[in-house]
Amino acid sequence: MNNKKNFNPDKDFYWLAFFSFLLFVVVIIAFYREANPEWKKYQREFKNYLEENISPESASAFEFSVKQLWLPELNKVDRCISCHLGYDQPNLTEAPEPYAAHPDILPHSVLKMGCTICHGGQGFALKKKDAHGEVEHWEEPMLGAKLAKKYGFESEKILMQMNCNTCHRRDEDLTGMEMINLGKNLLTQKKKCQTCHIIDGKGGKLAADLTFIGDKPAERFDFSQIKDKLIESERPLSVLSWHFEHFMNPKAVVPDSKMPYVKYTEEEAWALAMLMMSWRSVSLPVMLIPEEKREEVPPPEKKLEKRKLSIVEWGKELFESKGCSECHTIGGGVEVGPDLIGITKLRDIQWLRKMILDPEKMEQTDPLAKKLYQEYEETGMPTEELTLQEVEAIIKYIESFNKESN
């Protein structure tokens, strides 16, 4: 080491030459990788397909490049079309995937909306796995066949309906949105969730605000009751599964839940779960709202048809639309609240009127109301906006059952 004879300067020279060459090799590898990205392989295949099946001219007109749909109003750039190359060519409907033409989705337009707004995924990515969102740390996977299979759905399009409804929330009975339509029907016609939950600014305060429940991150949901069940049944551990389980049996997911148990079929529960996931806050640029609807923000009230109703019929309508039937039956047993059969004879009619008009106040001040509150596990009866005539109608409706039972 300290002997000049042992030091050979040529050795260093050869090391230098060797490592320079190694650097050269590594740089060549880097350039090769950069020059042969994944998408190029698909584009080459596409060009061949055009050559053989369409025309040589179309093949030679095809240029290799990254193709993208840049939508600054939506703050999105979708590069799916770098591989899904036939999307806008109607003569390619029979082409093999991923080159097939996009099915007709009028009045929607791929050019104006991009891809990910409906399909999900990581639109700006250029590798298949990244773009389809099948990677860690991306919360919006493509809502396609792979994901549907995980949930046991056969149709590959079924999950996309969630994204449809993020924009089409205010619309009803749209084609192609069967599950969502089912969910909405269940919501408005059969069950009145707004009795306890706020939806769209209106509703009760007994449970969570559901207006933008689809935005709630997974970390804020409690999976402790259903985790093992989901893992065992090999269902995905996701918020969508959580909603499904919750609709099927609320108390199994949230042990002290006051949500009434409703026997839903599995299809209905999935429909409702998908409806929940679709309720996200989204700011739509005006250009995407169709002309006819631009004045309708906020959506119009449903026009009530003026019909001639008897007071009992009116009372029945109110009993259901105001949510009383959520918690009370008349002659059907105790649900969340007491069975109201014969209540007009059991209680003082003035007390009943006050109770229907402002139960929350009664629960604070009236001793009988307080006692009932305790008896029924402190659930509480929410106060609805009622006119005095409406209160009368409800009482008359309940009373009508007395005559029947006699």
């Binding site: 305060k205 402790s224 629960e363």
Partner: protein, 154 residues
């Protein structure tokens, strides 16, 4: 009388004036530069903020993400507990089963009243006072702290 040779000439006077001025000016510039870095106006939510009308707060426990706190409602009684862990400022999660707050960062556990039970958190979660604004909204003052038996009744 001064025996000192040095008289206060014009030259001397101006020399002193010039040197002092420039030193003070440069110092002031330096202080000005430093002051620029201490922000006085912040793009942050104010420490006193409105969280909506009492009627609109659901019963039970609600997490307000933009204010990082949990609002408790029991009929007409309200109280607010900060959701920021007193250890290293992660957001704690409410576990309804155990009725406790869990911090995902280092496993600190707080009771329903925000008392630190286990884990490295040194202090309990702070409670903030509430009040009612003239327009009917509930106001929380996160710059003040109250005791864990506080409740605001309508």
């Amino acid at each position: 009388m001064k025996e000192n040779e040095r008289k206060i000439t014009r030259r001397f006077f101006f020399g002193v004036l010039g040197k002092t001025s420039i030193i003070v000016a440069l110092l002031a510039e330096a202080i000005g530069a430093i002051k620029a870095f201490i922000p006085k106006v912040l793009y942050e939510p104010p420490s006193k903020f409105k969280i909506g009308k009492p009627e609109d707060i659901p019963e039970g426990i609600t997490f307000l993400p933009q204010h990082r706190l949990y609002i408790f409602r029991n009929n007409d009684d309200f109280h607010a507990i900060s959701a920021v862990c007193t250890h290293l400022k992660c957001i704690v999660d409410w576990k309804p089963d155990q009725r406790e707050f869990y911090c995902p960062c280092h496993g600190s556990i707080f009771s329903q009243a925000g008392i630190n039970l286990t884990g490295p958190a040194p202090k309990p979660l702070p409670w903030y006072p509430l009040s009612l604004a003239p327009d009917g909204n509930l106001v929380i003052d996160s710059s003040k702290q109250v005791k864990p038996d506080y409740k605001y009744s309508l």
